[in-house]
């Protein structure tokens, strides 16, 4: 009978241990959720905004500079009042709009990447919790991960937004230098008196 009593105690202890383990994981999950609750939509929106704040002034500056160059080119050719100017200006306006959308997309994409990184970090911490069943360790890991994620990440060089647009004309200019039969784009490099009107 003594042996049976011992076995019952062992079984009770095993059940109690398992219940305690599950309770620890439950508690650890709550801790992780609490630590990661700061990563809300507002946080990710701010990440997009941070990119906008970085990229927009650059775009604005490059837009002004490119537009100045365009104005000089047009003035140099006497095309400030011409259909060529309208075509060129429209083309540039579309390019500016395209670059704005690209900045918006890039900002949102970076926010999405950050969201994925946060989720991955959260998953790793959660897996550590499952393996260790140690809420304190999981909370510490979650806090460390959170600190890493909230540290500003380096943003690559932003700029050169109108390189492609400008290159189209540079390429055309180079092509015309090699072969005079190549048609000029919007008459910018046309030195004849004929103007596109």
């Amino acid at each position: 009978m003594g042996m049976c009593g011992g076995s019952n105690k062992d079984a009770e202890q095993a059940r109690a241990d398992e219940a305690a383990r599950q309770a620890r994981i439950e508690q650890g999950t709550k801790n992780i959720d609490r630590v990661y609750s700061g990563f809300d939509d507002k946080f990710y929106e701010q990440r997009s905004q941070d990119y906008f704040n970085k990229a927009l002034p650059t775009l604005n500056m490059e837009q002004a500079r490119t537009k100045q160059e365009l104005a000089y080119q047009l003035a140099n050719r006497g095309l400030l009042r011409s259909s060529a100017r309208n075509q060129r200006e429209n083309s540039f306006a579309l390019e500016v709009e395209k670059q704005r959308r690209a900045i918006a997309d890039q900002g949102l994409s970076q926010a999405n990447s950050l969201r994925a990184a946060v989720e991955e970090s959260r998953g790793n911490v959660y897996n550590q919790l499952l393996a260790s069943a140690d809420p304190a360790q999981a909370t510490a890991a979650a806090t460390r991960a959170q600190a890493n994620l909230t540290t500003p990440s380096p943003i690559g060089t932003v700029g050169n937004f109108f390189a492609d647009w400008s290159n189209i004309y540079l390429t055309n200019k180079a092509a015309r230098a090699e072969n005079p039969n190549v048609q000029p784009l919007f008459g910018i490099n046309n030195k004849s008196s004929a103007r596109i009107v």
Partner: protein, 231 residues
């Protein structure tokens, strides 16, 4: 030899065998109960897992996709609009020296506006698929985490609790089996004792000369020996 000296060992042995059988049956029953309890706990876990899975499945369909795509499109359109407002357009001069006639920013901005509006909508819609995809990925990851936890609980239960319970259940019949062994041994000893004692006096009764037929206790043994020898 009295009948009871024959019946007592037989009774004890039978009782011992019965007790052993009962003990084994009790152990088997207890083990079956442990497994049944484990299955019941697993059924609860299956229900819990099914709820987690169902919740995920409910958010995997076309309705959710349409809603998420619309939400993502609006989010991107808002960003496009916001950036469009933040960038003042600078009009080109109309002449190199006398720059009195200046096109308004609004006019320049309107250049290609219709096309831009179309492109904004198209870009926003295309980008929204990435948003939806990310949301689905996060949802699935969290569902997997929930299912992993339930699965882990089942494994831990099976590895840490059930073996201990099974060991305990296997010992449930130990007491009865112990009594059974004791009774069987008692029956054996009693039987042997009876046989020995009967064999010693019976031999004398058969071949010896000092025991008379008047001995009360030797007569039945003699009868038992006769039965055993087929006499």
């Amino acid at each position: 030899m009295p009948v009871w000296s024959l019946l007592i060992p037989l009774g004890l042995s039978a009782a011992g065998a019965a007790a052993s059988y009962a003990g084994q049956k009790k152990s088997a029953s207890a083990q079956a109960k442990v497994l049944a309890n484990y299955r019941n706990r697993n059924k609860q876990r299956e229900a819990e897992a099914n709820a987690v899975y169902q919740q995920s499945l409910d958010k995997s369909g076309r309705d959710t996709a349409d809603a998420e795509l619309e939400k993502g499109t609006q989010r991107r359109m808002t960003a496009y609009e916001q950036l469009g407002q933040q960038l003042p357009t600078q009009p080109l001069p109309l002449s190199g020296s006398r720059n009195k006639e200046v096109k308004t920013g609004a006019n320049v901005k309107n250049a290609g506006t219709a096309w831009s509006r179309l492109m904004r909508k198209a870009d926003a819609k295309l980008g929204s698929y990435a948003d939806w995809n990310l949301q689905q990925g996060i949802k699935n990851t969290r569902t997997n985490q929930g299912l992993d936890r339930i699965s882990q609980n089942a494994k831990s239960d099976l590895n840490n609790v059930v073996p201990v319970e099974m060991a305990g259940a296997a010992r449930k019949g130990d007491a009865l089996q112990g009594w059974g062994a004791l009774l069987s041994a008692a029956g054996m000893v009693t039987g042997m004792s009876a046989a020995l004692s009967t064999g010693g006096t019976g031999g004398e009764a058969t071949w010896g000369s000092s025991v008379t037929a008047a001995d009360d206790w030797s007569a039945p043994v003699k009868d038992w020996q006769s039965i055993a020898l087929g006499k």
